[in-house]
Every structure is written in structure tokens, then in C-alpha cells.
């Protein structure tokens, strides 16, 4: 039996305390040793692996700064930043981004990449929407749904994809909050990957970003087809917003280094990611198009990704710019 007198107890307690203090110290020491950026972001970017497999290592190699990505939906990512958790956010829901900046939490918004949303559904296309434009397709979807022929799945999680879906329903003339209570309309309340798996299981339709869809399709996890992929309404624009240094004492300079890198060297990495595995990029670099300043894609990006600043369309209105040497596209 262990001898247990007062002396041993005291020694044991001191030992325990010692271990705890040392581990605690080494934890904080680690944090000081590295320069760390915490970036809250969307699941659609994260689930493809672009952030942690391509961007984080390349950025660390170039600058020595470690990035921690916290994958959540766009809504939750913004909430994280409002709680002072993030140095910057990478998201894709323009109206939420504007609100985030309006409330004074974010500055220096830059668009960094784009791709397209797709409506995916079963191969036999029970709703008969293949090849239609998004608005027509959704109208037909409602008909088919009410007739009991097809089911629609929505993420309903306040994410960027979900925000896009709400807008698309609006364009088709339906109120999302009403229509989501109908019987053929199912809400998962979860990330893109899980929602795709669910949709696949019940042979339904859903709106997905092309990146996550391609990854899941090529990995053989789902056999849903792309039903609708044509239409400017489906463009999906990702942007980074730096947390306002006046609001929280975060690493503003570090976040700006990341912004600069994303719109310069990072563009190539974004454009190349996934090509070897999926035969095509999952995300497209955006800066070249903006520099060219014309063309259909440029018009779409301006229309769906820029913000109105007293009649001038810009990626970041003047009042939300802060100590930035960056050129903002207008």
C-alpha cells in the first residue's frame, strides 16, 4: 500500500501543480513563439481541403505565419469574429458581409476567388429541371414538390450557400421562410458535405457549391448529377474581411499580410488546387478578371460580389477601408 502521510500528500499536490503550471506555460509559450492568424471560414471552402492543404502551408512557407482555420458556416464564422475570436473571416454572402462591416466589425474587404453554385439532383431528374435557368428550375421544383414527385433539401444554417438559396427562391417568387415549411422541403441545418450525403440518400435536389460537390462526386460518395449550372445568378464569390482593429485587439497587420498574399501569390494556388485530382479547379482566381476590367464574368462579379458605394460599385466601400495600401477594385 502507498504510504500516505501528510508529507507525501503535500509532495503529490506540489507535483501535480507543477505539471499543470508547466503545461500551461508551454501552451502559452507556443502561442508566443509563432505568429498565428485565426481565420473563421465557411465549410464549403474548408471541406474541399483548399485552406489547410494548400493555402495554410504555402502562406507559412512564405511568411512564417501560422493560420488556424475554424470551419463554420458563413453566419457562424461572422459570429465568431464578432466575439473577438478571429483576425479575419473568409466567407461568401455579400449582404451578411455588408452588415458585418456596417456594424463596425470588419474592414478592408477583398474578393479573392469565385466559382459557381450548382443545383444537383438524381440522375433520372424526377422534377424535370435539367438545363433550365435557376429561376425557372426552382419554379418547376415547387410544382414537382407539391405534386409529390421530388424533394428539395436546404442547409438552412445561415451559411453562404444557404443565403444564396434564399435569394434564389426570392428571385423565383417564393418566400423562403414560408416555403421551407412545406412537406417536400427538408432542412438539414448542417454543413455542405453532410447535406450532400443526405440529399444523395433520399434521392432529392439541393443547392451546392461546385467545389464540395465535385470532391464528393469524384470520391464516389454521391452519384447526384448537376441539374442546373447555367446562369449568372449562380456565381459564388468568396471574400476576406479583416476584423476592425478598433473593435478588437487582433493581429491586424498579420491579417493584412494574408489579404495581400491571397490576392497576389495566393491566386495561383487557389486556381491550381484540385486540378490534379478532379481534372479542373474547384475555385477560380478572381484578380486577373478584375484587372482586365471587362467581360461577362467581370460584369457578374461586379453585379453579385461588389458593394454599392454611393453609385460606385466596389469590393470595399471607402468608409470601411482602414490603413490599407491595397488597391481596391471599383
Amino acid at each position: 500500500m502507498i504510504a500516505l502521510n501528510r508529507k507525501t500528500i503535500i509532495v503529490l499536490i506540489i507535483l501535480l501543480l507543477g505539471i499543470v503550471v508547466v503545461s500551461w506555460y508551454s501552451q502559452t509559450a507556443k502561442q508566443q513563439e509563432y505568429r498565428i492568424l485565426t481565420i473563421s471560414t465557411t465549410t464549403s471552402l474548408y471541406d474541399t481541403g483548399l485552406l489547410e492543404e494548400a493555402i495554410a502551408p504555402a502562406f507559412k512557407e512564405k511568411t512564417g505565419i501560422v493560420i488556424r482555420f475554424i470551419p463554420k458556416g458563413t453566419g457562424a464564422a461572422i459570429q465568431d469574429a464578432k466575439n473577438g475570436l478571429a483576425d479575419a473571416i473568409i466567407v461568401h454572402a455579400r449582404n451578411k458581409e455588408v452588415k458585418f462591416m456596417e456594424e463596425g466589425y470588419g474592414v478592408n474587404r477583398k474578393v479573392i476567388a469565385y466559382n459557381f453554385f450548382v443545383v444537383v439532383g438524381p440522375k433520372d431528374d424526377p422534377a424535370g429541371i435539367r438545363g433550365l435557368n435557376p429561376v425557372e428550375a426552382l419554379k418547376k421544383m415547387v410544382e414537382a414538390g407539391r405534386a409529390g414527385k421530388a424533394v428539395w433539401v436546404s442547409r438552412d444554417d445561415g451559411s453562404g450557400t444557404n443565403t444564396k438559396e434564399v435569394v434564389l427562391w426570392e428571385m423565383a417568387g417564393f418566400d423562403y421562410n414560408e416555403i421551407k415549411n412545406e412537406k417536400w422541403f427538408r432542412c438539414t441545418g448542417t454543413g455542405m458535405g453532410k447535406t450532400l450525403l443526405y440529399t444523395n440518400n433520399i434521392r432529392a435536389y439541393t443547392l451546392s457549391d461546385i467545389g464540395t460537390y465535385l470532391k464528393y462526386y469524384k470520391d464516389g460518395l454521391i452519384d447526384l448529377d448537376v441539374s442546373v449550372d447555367k446562369g449568372e445568378e449562380l456565381i459564388n464569390i468568396y471574400s476576406i474581411i479583416v476584423v476592425n482593429p478598433k473593435k478588437f485587439d487582433k493581429d491586424f497587420e498579420g491579417a493584412m499580410i494574408l489579404v495581400e498574399w491571397l490576392v497576389s501569390d495566393g491566386q495561383k494556388i487557389i486556381g491550381e488546387y484540385g486540378v490534379d485530382k478532379y481534372g479542373r479547379p474547384l475555385f477560380y482566381p478572381i484578380v486577373d478578371i478584375l484587372e482586365k476590367g471587362s467581360g461577362t464574368l467581370f460584369d457578374w462579379i461586379v453585379k453579385y460580389g461588389f458593394i454599392d458605394d454611393n453609385g460606385v460599385m466596389t469590393e470595399c466601400p471607402k468608409k470601411y477601408r482602414y490603413k490599407a495600401d491595397t488597391v481596391f477594385f471599383e
Binding site: 499543470v20 502561442q31 513563439e33 502551408p57
Partner: protein, 236 residues
């Protein structure tokens, strides 16, 4: 139909036996984080448990009831509460614990505090009367008698710690909310542990690595339980 399961399991064993560095790292982190949680809990749970077991005072049963009630606290709720406390804008934000290994340890330590307190208090109470009287009749003072009781109850204390470890290492709610499942290769700041990794790889569809981690987690809890059984049989 079930081919992908068999393939997944095959590849899982391949990952385990070739000591895949990611798998090893995540496994070691799980053990480290939950082990730390046990140490932390011991600091405050053990004294509270001993006091509750040895002494008699007004309201003791209420406190014991309180800790018993907390035994089944849902981990996500605890995670949520801790998140609200630990975010930089929150009251404990200055600790800088959110999205760190130490943050998860702290959360798990709070989670298992009721287990330690209840187990320790109960096992002490079980032996208290007999031993105390015996010690007193043999001429021991109050403190010596109490020490004798604790010595007899030490097996129960170890069991409590083992049960607590299993609860900590297997929980997901706190690890995902406070840890954030962060993983960047070669970074010293990762917080991905077994449970969060299994969750993520399953939704990502990388079934083989999810199965590998699942097998490891099961083995850990299994081995720990076996050790607990051995201790128990040695005691009786």
C-alpha cells in the same frame, strides 16, 4: 454493397500498422489532452470529494446531490457555456484558452469533476465508519484517522480517475466547440483530437481514416476499462 466497409477497415489497419503520422499525432493529442484534464480535476475534485466523504456538515447532501446531478451533463451544453466564457469578448477571454489544447483540457476537467467528486466521496464513505473507529480505538488522532480512511479509499479514487478519463477522451462536444478541430500540418497549435477527427472524416467521406481512428479510440477506452477491472478485482 458492403465492399466499402471492408475496404475501409483494411485501409484503416494499414494506416494503424504503418504508423501514419497524422493518426499518431491525433491519438497522442487525445491522450495528452484528456490526461491533462484528469490532472486538473484532481487538483480541485479530489479535495472536494475527500471533504464531502469525511466530514459531516449541514447541506452536505445537497452538495452531493448537486454533483450527482451534474454527472450526466450534456457535453455540448458545457461546451457552449465555456465558449461563451472563453471567447475574447467573454468574461474569461483574457485566459486565451479558446481553440487551444489547454482549453479542451479545462473543459473536460470541468466535465469530469462530478465523476471524481462523487466517486471519491462515495468510496470514502463506504470505508469511513469502520476504519475511523478502528483507528481511533488504536489511539489515532482525528487527522491520522482521516488519513487512514483516505488510504483505504485510494482504490476507489483510482477507479474514479479511470472512469473520468474514459468519459473525457470519448466526448465530442467540448473538443469541437472549444478546440475547433484545428489541424495544420507541422503546426504546434493543432487541436484535432480523436473524436473531432472521426466526426470530420466521416462527413468528408474519408471513411478509412475515420475507421482507423475509431478503432484506436475504442481500443483506448477498452484497455482503460480492463485496467480498471483489474484494479477492482485486486481490491476485493
Amino acid at each position: 454493397m458492403t465492399e466499402y466497409i471492408i475496404k475501409g477497415i483494411q485501409h484503416a489497419f494499414y494506416l494503424i500498422f504503418t504508423a501514419n503520422p497524422d493518426v499518431i499525432e491525433i491519438t497522442l493529442r487525445s491522450i495528452k489532452v484528456s490526461g491533462m484534464a484528469i490532472l486538473l480535476t484532481t487538483l480541485w475534485g479530489l479535495p472536494v470529494g475527500i471533504i464531502l466523504g469525511i466530514s459531516n456538515f449541514f447541506g452536505k447532501n445537497i452538495i452531493k446531490g448537486f454533483f450527482n446531478g451534474l454527472l450526466g451533463i450534456p457535453t455540448v451544453v458545457l461546451g457552449l457555456i465555456l465558449y461563451l466564457m472563453l471567447v475574447p469578448a467573454g468574461p474569461l477571454g483574457f485566459l486565451g484558452l479558446i481553440y487551444t489544447e489547454m482549453g479542451i483540457s479545462l473543459g473536460q476537467a470541468i466535465l469530469i469533476t462530478p465523476i471524481i467528486v462523487s466517486f471519491v466521496a462515495n468510496s470514502i464513505e463506504l470505508v469511513e465508519n469502520d476504519i475511523k473507529e478502528l483507528a481511533m480505538t488504536l489511539g489515532a488522532g482525528r487527522i491520522e484517522a482521516s488519513l487512514a480512511v483516505i488510504r483505504e479509499a485510494i482504490g476507489g479514487v483510482m477507479l474514479a480517475m479511470i472512469a473520468a478519463f474514459n468519459r473525457a477522451v470519448a466526448e465530442l462536444g467540448i473538443a469541437i466547440v472549444i478546440g475547433g478541430n484545428i489541424f495544420v500540418k507541422d503546426s504546434a497549435l493543432n487541436t484535432r483530437v480523436l473524436t473531432t477527427a472521426i466526426q470530420m472524416y466521416t462527413t468528408r467521406g474519408e471513411i478509412d481514416i475515420a475507421i482507423a481512428l475509431g478503432i484506436i479510440l475504442l481500443s483506448i477506452t477498452f484497455i482503460v476499462s480492463i485496467i480498471s477491472n483489474i484494479i477492482q478485482s485486486k481490491l476485493t
